[in-house]
């Protein structure tokens, strides 16, 4: 693929002006995700009202792919139920690793701008890190690493 097509305007824009960037005053769930291979880390806090994600924010140090992925993720899951978020997490992961049929049924919408990472094996983790951190937060795991055995990345998401 043409790598430049991954660095599309929407991704560059979210990298430059990340949405929901910062911390939450009131958070019920929280997790930190690490990628020790590059030193990147991402802090995600969210507030659940019943089963609904009422508020979400993130901050941290990361590459453009990771930051844009986190930014777009927060805009998409805000207001959704925990179950809907888990569905998106699974679909995003499948898309990034190349196992999702993009022509088939899914709920990713404009998140498909990240489909190109499946052709860049070293960058898949950058795109997925925010989603795995969200999964960890929803499941009350406070820290995850892309390189640890218990990283949800190594386990089927949605079956947990």
């Amino acid at each position: 693929m043409n790598t430049k097509s991954l660095y599309q305007e929407v991704i560059l824009d979210h990298n430059k002006k990340p949405r929901n960037y910062g911390t939450l005053d009131k958070a019920s769930h929280h997790a930190v995700g690490h990628n020790p291979l590059c030193g990147d880390h991402l802090d995600i806090a969210l507030n659940l009202e019943g089963e609904r994600i009422d508020g979400i924010a993130f901050h941290g140090e990361s590459c453009a792919i990771c930051k844009a992925s986190a930014s777009m993720m927060t805009t998409v899951v805000k207001g959704k139920t925990r179950a809907d978020a888990e569905t998106l997490i699974k679909e995003f992961r499948d898309m990034a690793t190349g196992t999702l049929d993009l022509e088939g049924q899914h709920h990713l919408g404009r998140l498909t701008v990240f489909a190109g990472v499946r052709d860049l094996p070293t960058r898949v983790k950058c795109a997925i890190l925010p989603w795995h951190t969200l999964h960890a937060a929803l499941n009350a795991v406070t820290t995850i690493s892309t390189e640890s055995e218990d990283d949800p990345m190594h386990a089927p998401i949605g079956d947990a």
């Binding site: 430049k4 660095y7 590059c38 030193g39 590459c63 453009a64 070293t122 960058r123």
Partner: protein
């Protein structure tokens, strides 16, 4: 008014037949993403010239058998070629004797050998090991394991903002408990060339042995272990135009003889009964099991190849590359060089304002340019210089000034995308 003759081409100090050199490296003809490959990841691993590839093929085609065993033709031939390669390596680093050259799987393996063979025997509770902030993880972690096992302490030589060791601080770290010094010759992340000869002399005046991690030095300068007077010198084959899976530990014979074996097995013994095993003499004491014979012979061919070009000529040419690249990158707004030591090899680590190294690496790859991004296995250096990660372009003698231009043009494209 200064008169500038614009017809003059840039003058470089070195004379070097770069076209002839490049013709020896078939991989340099590759196209990546539709562009000519610009390989600037030489500090991670170098490419292999045709004479070394040919040597591997010749060995596998006409010379292979296990060594030190059979009385048959092939076994004797393979043994002679393997030992011949050891002598090539001996000459390459100017070791006194060929038995001071031990084949290992690489630099990491060589350092672990010293930790197990020397450290576990001669370093005890309360003893101190001096390392430097610049060390690669491979010259930190084995010593931490030893320190934990024995109750020994690690003392660390600090660096300044340019990435140079503070030699005054090094000298102050010595106490009567200092039992060992480990220091890298050249920093893989920053290119800093350390004054190891002076550091060794200082340690020896206090009867402390010194291990030099030379992985990033031997491909880029003449290394003479007798002149340095180091006790151990470790390096890898694959950074030296040789194969992976092979490296060398040089050690002074009298030290190697006093050390305990690292790995047990065949070849490293003279006799074995269940009551008592007698170890073989050096270097065989440290080469248990069947070694990577082909790789060792390939490495012999690689150092012959490098010697035929001349390490001094290589060093001079690479300095021209470094100076040119440094000058070009210094003109770019928003780019900061990390590692500005007075003495450097051709390594250029840098940050681009507002752009993460991983994004730079991915986008440069789109231009055919291969660089390394990340922490380069030196997290203490990154912590000290307060950078989470850098992008690193590392040059070899087969790179060209035109490739520096392609790299700089690629960086400009990256900046444009992120503007």
């Amino acid at each position: 008014m200064k008169i500038i003759d614009s017809t003059l081409k840039p003058q470089f100090a070195s004379t070097f037949d770069i076209d002839r050199v490049r013709a020896d490296f078939p991989i340099l003809e590759l196209q990546v993403e539709g562009k000519p490959l610009v390989y600037l990841d030489n500090a991670a691993s170098s490419q292999m010239p045709q004479p070394v590839i040919d040597r591997l093929v010749r060995y596998q085609t006409t010379q292979h058998a296990n060594i030190n065993r059979g009385v048959h033709y092939l076994s004797e031939l393979a043994t002679a070629e393997y030992e011949g390669s050891r002598r090539r390596l001996q000459r390459f680093i100017n070791a006194r004797e060929d038995r001071e050259v031990i084949f290992t799987s690489g630099t990491t393996d060589a350092i672990n050998l010293v930790m197990h063979g020397y450290g576990r025997k001669f370093i005890g509770a309360g003893d101190e090991i001096i390392l430097t902030t610049l060390e690669h993880h491979s010259n930190i972690v084995p010593w931490q394991m030893l320190a934990e096992e024995k109750g020994a302490k690690i003392r660390v030589v600090p660096i300044n903002d340019a990435g140079e060791l503070l030699i005054d601080e090094y000298e102050k770290l010595f106490t009567e408990r200092t039992k060992f010094v480990g220091v890298l010759h050249v920093s893989n992340a920053l290119g800093t060339v350390n004054p190891v000869k002076e550091m060794i002399a200082f340690a020896h005046a206090r009867n402390v042995p010194v291990l030099i991690d030379g992985a990033q030095a031997v491909p880029h300068m003449t290394v003479d272990v007798q002149d340095l007077d180091c006790d151990f010198y470790a390096f890898s084959g694959h950074k030296l135009c040789g194969p992976t899976g092979i490296g060398v530990l040089y050690g002074k014979a009298e030290l190697l003889e006093r050390m305990q074996p690292f790995k047990g097995g065949g070849d490293m013994i003279l006799s074995v009964t269940f009551e008592k095993t007698t170890y073989n003499s050096i270097p065989h004491k440290f080469e248990a099991g069947t070694p990577p014979i082909a790789a060792a012979i390939g490495l012999g061919a690689a150092v012959d190849y490098l010697s035929s070009i001349g390490l001094d000529a290589i060093a001079a040419y690479e300095l021209d590359l470094l100076n040119y690249a440094t000058e070009q990158i210094s003109c770019m707004p928003g780019v900061r060089i990390i590692g500005t030591a007075a003495m450097k090899t051709a390594v250029l680590s840098f940050e681009v304002e507002g752009v993460h190294p991983h994004d730079i690496g991915t986008l440069l790859n789109q231009e055919g340019v291969a660089v390394r991004t990340g922490h380069h296995c030196v997290q203490p250096v990154m912590l000290r210089l307060k950078v989470p990660a850098t992008t690193r372009a590392s040059f070899a003698f087969y790179n060209t000034m035109a490739e520096v231009d392609a790299f700089i043009a690629g960086l400009r494209t990256v900046q444009k995308i992120f503007m």
